[in-house]
C-alpha cells in the first residue's frame, strides 16, 4: 500500500516536471535560446511587480527581445501580487545565486525593497529600477522610467485648450495617498492645466488604486457630489475606463472629457472610439530594452549606468489641441503596449 502511494506521488511529480520542461521550452525561447548559445554567459534578471499586468508583460517581452538580440540570458520573476515585497526579495536572492550580472526591477514596495537592493549591489551586481524608483532612489544604480510629472502636464495642457471658453468642473481620479507616481501625475495635470491644489474648479478628488471597478465607484460618487463635472483626470487607463462606464450609465459620456495616462493598446483603442480624449503614452518596452543593454555594457566594460533616464512620453489624441504637441491614434496604436 505504502509503496503504491509513494510511486503515485513520484509519478505525479515526474509528470509535473515534464510539463514544466515542455512549458519552459515554449516560453523562454526568445531569451533562452540566446542564453544557451554560449555568448560569454552574461545573465540578466528582470523582476516585475506581477506576472499578469499587461504593462509588465510588455516589459518582459521587451527584455526578452533585447536579450535575444544581445545574446544574453534572461531570468524573469515577479511578486505574487502588487506590493509583494518578500516575493521580490526571494527573486533577487535566487537571481544572485544564479549568477546574474545585473538586475532590472520594478519595485512593488519602493521603501521595503531598498535594503535588499543595497545588499545585491554590495555583491557587485548592477541594479536598475524600471518604471518605479526605489526609496531612497540611490539604492539602485540607475532609474529608467517615465517622467510622470511630464505625463500629467501633457494631458493638463491639452485639457486646458479643450476647455477654453467653458467653465471647467474637474474630477481627479487618483492612485493611492502617498504613492509618488500618483502624486506626480496629479500635480503635473494641475500644473499643465494652470491651477493649484484647492482651486474651486476641482469639484471632486477620489482614490482608485488604479483599478477599473474602484474608478467606476469613484466616478459615480463624484457625479453624486457634482453632477456638472465636465473634465475627468484619471491616474491610468483602468481608472479612466471605470470613469467612462459610470459616465455612460449616467448618460454623460458625450459631455465629459476624460484624459488619462498609460498608452496601452486597449487604451488607445478606447481613445479611437472616442471614450478618452487624450492619453499620455509611456514606453515599458523601452525601459526593459535599455535596461538589458545597460547590464550588458556593464558586464563587458565594467561601466555602471547611473542617474535617471527618461524613457519618454507622448500625448496621443484623435482631436489635437492647438499649441499642444501630440501624436495621432495610429502612432499610438503602433507604439502601444499590451495587445
Amino acid at each position: 500500500m505504502s509503496s503504491r502511494i509513494t510511486s503515485l506521488a513520484i509519478a505525479g511529480l515526474a509528470a509535473a516536471f515534464t510539463l514544466t520542461a515542455c512549458g519552459s521550452g515554449g516560453s523562454s525561447s526568445a531569451g533562452g535560446s540566446a542564453g544557451s548559445g554560449g555568448s560569454g554567459s552574461i545573465t540578466v534578471g528582470l523582476i516585475t511587480k506581477t506576472e499578469t499586468n499587461p504593462y509588465f508583460v510588455t516589459m518582459k517581452k521587451g527584455a526578452q527581445a533585447e536579450a535575444a538580440k544581445d545574446g544574453v540570458k534572461l531570468l524573469t520573476a515577479a511578486g505574487a501580487y502588487d506590493g509583494d515585497n518578500a516575493g521580490q526579495v526571494t527573486a533577487i536572492e535566487n537571481m544572485i545565486a544564479a549568477g546574474v550580472k545585473g538586475i532590472l526591477i520594478t519595485p512593488s514596495d519602493p521603501k521595503a525593497i531598498a535594503p535588499t537592493l543595497q545588499r545585491a549591489r554590495q555583491q557587485g551586481i548592477v541594479v536598475i529600477a524600471l518604471d518605479t524608483p526605489p526609496d531612497p532612489q540611490n539604492s539602485a544604480d540607475a532609474l529608467f522610467a517615465t517622467d510622470n510629472l511630464a505625463a500629467g502636464k501633457l494631458i493638463g495642457q491639452y485639457a486646458k485648450v479643450r476647455m477654453a471658453g467653458k467653465t471647467a468642473k474637474i474630477a481627479t481620479l487618483d492612485l493611492t495617498p502617498g504613492v509618488d507616481v500618483g502624486v506626480q501625475r496629479h500635480n503635473g495635470f494641475l500644473a499643465g492645466f494652470g491651477i493649484a491644489e484647492g482651486d474651486p474648479s476641482i469639484a471632486c478628488e477620489a482614490d482608485t488604486s488604479g483599478d477599473q471597478a474602484k474608478g467606476q465607484t469613484a466616478m459615480e460618487n463624484c457625479l453624486q457630489k457634482a453632477p456638472d463635472i465636465n473634465l475627468v483626470y484619471t491616474i491610468n487607463e483602468p481608472a479612466a475606463m471605470g470613469a467612462y462606464q459610470a459616465l455612460k450609465a449616467a448618460g454623460k459620456d458625450k459631455a465629459v472629457t476624460i484624459v488619462t495616462v498609460d498608452g496601452s493598446c486597449t487604451g488607445v483603442g478606447a481613445l479611437t472610439q472616442g471614450q478618452f480624449a487624450a492619453d499620455s503614452q509611456q514606453y515599458p518596452l523601452k525601459m526593459a530594452s535599455l535596461g538589458v543593454d545597460a547590464v550588458m555594457t556593464f558586464a563587458k566594460t565594467g561601466k555602471k549606468p547611473s542617474g535617471y533616464t527618461d524613457t519618454g512620453v507622448s500625448l496621443i489624441t484623435a482631436t489635437p489641441a492647438a499649441g499642444v504637441d501630440s501624436k495621432d491614434a495610429s502612432y499610438g496604436q503602433s507604439n502601444c503596449w499590451g495587445s
Partner: protein
C-alpha cells in the same frame, strides 16, 4: 469536524494511545501501526529528494552549500508559520489569518522599536504578544463560541490586516535597529554561511515534533483532531487544549514576524497576503491530513522546502516563475489525492 469519518477509520496512521482508547477497538497490530507511522512523510521526502536530484542535474549552481542555505533562509518564514498551521490542522482546524497576523506582529515590533523608542527586546516581545493574543482570540471563538475555524480565521484575517494598515498608516517602517535583524545574520558552517533564522526554524520544528510525538499533550492534540467527542469522554479538556494550540500557534506567527523583519530589513504593512495559503500548502504537501489527526509535522518542513526548492531551482535553470506556481498547484492536488487514497484503502 469529522468525527464520523474518523470513527470509521480506526487504523489511522498516527493513532495514539488516547485515540485508540477512545475511538474504537484497535484492529491493527502494534507492529503494523509502527510501520505505518513512517508513511506520511515518505512521499514528501521522496518528492523533495527527487526535486533536488533533478535540479542538481539541471543547474550546476543548485547543489552548493550556499544555495542550500539560501533555500532554508527563504523558507524560514513560511516554515515557521507552518509549524503553527500544522498544529491547528492536526486538530481538524485551519488558520487563514496567520499571514495577516504575522504582518501585524512585524509592524507592531518595528513601529515600537523605531517610532516608539522601546528597547528592542520589549518591542519584539510586544510583537509576539499581539500575535499570541490573536491566536487566543481565534481559539476562544472556535471553542467557546463554537464557530467554524475557517470563518473565525477569515474574520481575524481581515481584522489583523486592517489593524496593520491602521498601525502603520500605510507606511513601510524603515531605519530599524540592527539588533532587530539579528536573525537574518549568518554564521559560518564549514564553507557555508548559514542564517540564524533558518536554524531557529529547524529548532522549532524539532521541538514541535518532540512535543507532538513524545508528550501526553501532543498525543491528545492528535486525538482531538481525530475524534473530539471521544477524547472529551476520555476526560481530556478539549476546549483548553484547543485554545492552547491556537495561542501557541499565534506566538509562533510572532516569531515568523521577527524572521520576516530580519529577512527583509523593514516592517512591511503589505506583507503576509499569501502566506496563509503558502503555509497550508506546505502542510498539505507534507502529508498532513486537512481532516485532522493524521500526519507528521516533519512533513510540513519537507513541504515548505519542496516549494522553496522548486522556486529556487526553476529560477536557476531560467524557467519562467509562473511554472513554479503551476507545479505547486499540481503537487497540492496530488498530495490531497494521496491522502484520500490512503484513507479509503484503510477502510
Amino acid at each position: 469536524m469529522n468525527s464520523v469519518d474518523s470513527v470509521k477509520a480506526p487504523g489511522a496512521v498516527d493513532t495514539t494511545t488516547a485515540e485508540r482508547a477512545a475511538a474504537s477497538p484497535p484492529e491493527a497490530a502494534p507492529s503494523r501501526i509502527s510501520a505505518l507511522l513512517r508513511v506520511p512523510t515518505l512521499g514528501p521526502l521522496g518528492a523533495l529528494l527527487l526535486a533536488c536530484v533533478y535540479f542538481s542535474f539541471a543547474s550546476g549552481r543548485f547543489l552548493t552549500g550556499g544555495n542550500m542555505s539560501l533555500i532554508l533562509q527563504q523558507v524560514m518564514v513560511v516554515g515557521t508559520l507552518a509549524v503553527g498551521q500544522s498544529a491547528i490542522i492536526l486538530t481538524a482546524g485551519i488558520d487563514l489569518s496567520n499571514g495577516a497576523v504575522m504582518a501585524f506582529g512585524s509592524v507592531v515590533m518595528t513601529k515600537l522599536a523605531v517610532a516608539g523608542g522601546l528597547p528592542v527586546w520589549l518591542a519584539i516581545a510586544a510583537g509576539i504578544g499581539v500575535c499570541a493574543l490573536f491566536g487566543a482570540v481565534n481559539g476562544s471563538l472556535v471553542t467557546l463560541a463554537k464557530l467554524p475555524p475557517f470563518i473565525v480565521t477569515l474574520g481575524t484575517l481581515n481584522i489583523a490586516m486592517a489593524l496593520t494598515h491602521i498601525t502603520s498608516k500605510e507606511q513601510t517602517v524603515t531605519g530599524l535597529p540592527t539588533v532587530l535583524m539579528k536573525l537574518g545574520d549568518t554564521f559560518p558552517l564549514g564553507q557555508t554561511r548559514v542564517t540564524y533564522g533558518s536554524v531557529l526554524m529547524l529548532v522549532l520544528f524539532a521541538v514541535a515534533w518532540y512535543v507532538l510525538r513524545h508528550t501526553a499533550a501532543g498525543r491528545h492534540l492528535y486525538a482531538v483532531g481525530d475524534n473530539p467527542d471521544a477524547v472529551r469522554l476520555a476526560g481530556v479538556d478539549v476546549r483548553r487544549q484547543l485554545i492552547t494550540v491556537y495561542t501557541i500557534a499565534g506566538a509562533l506567527y510572532g516569531v515568523a514576524a521577527l524572521l520576516l523583519v530580519a529577512r527583509t530589513g523593514v516592517g512591511d504593512p503589505q506583507a503576509g497576503q499569501t502566506e496563509n495559503l503558502d503555509s497550508i500548502t506546505a502542510v498539505v504537501l507534507g502529508g498532513i491530513s486537512l481532516f485532522g489527526g493524521r500526519g507528521s509535522i516533519v512533513g510540513a518542513l519537507y513541504g515548505a522546502l519542496l516549494v522553496g526548492v522548486i522556486r529556487n531551482g526553476l529560477q536557476l535553470t531560467g524557467v519562467d516563475s509562473v511554472y513554479q506556481i503551476l507545479i505547486t498547484g499540481i503537487l497540492v492536488i496530488l498530495a490531497v489525492a494521496v491522502d484520500q487514497l490512503a484513507r479509503r484503502r484503510r477502510k
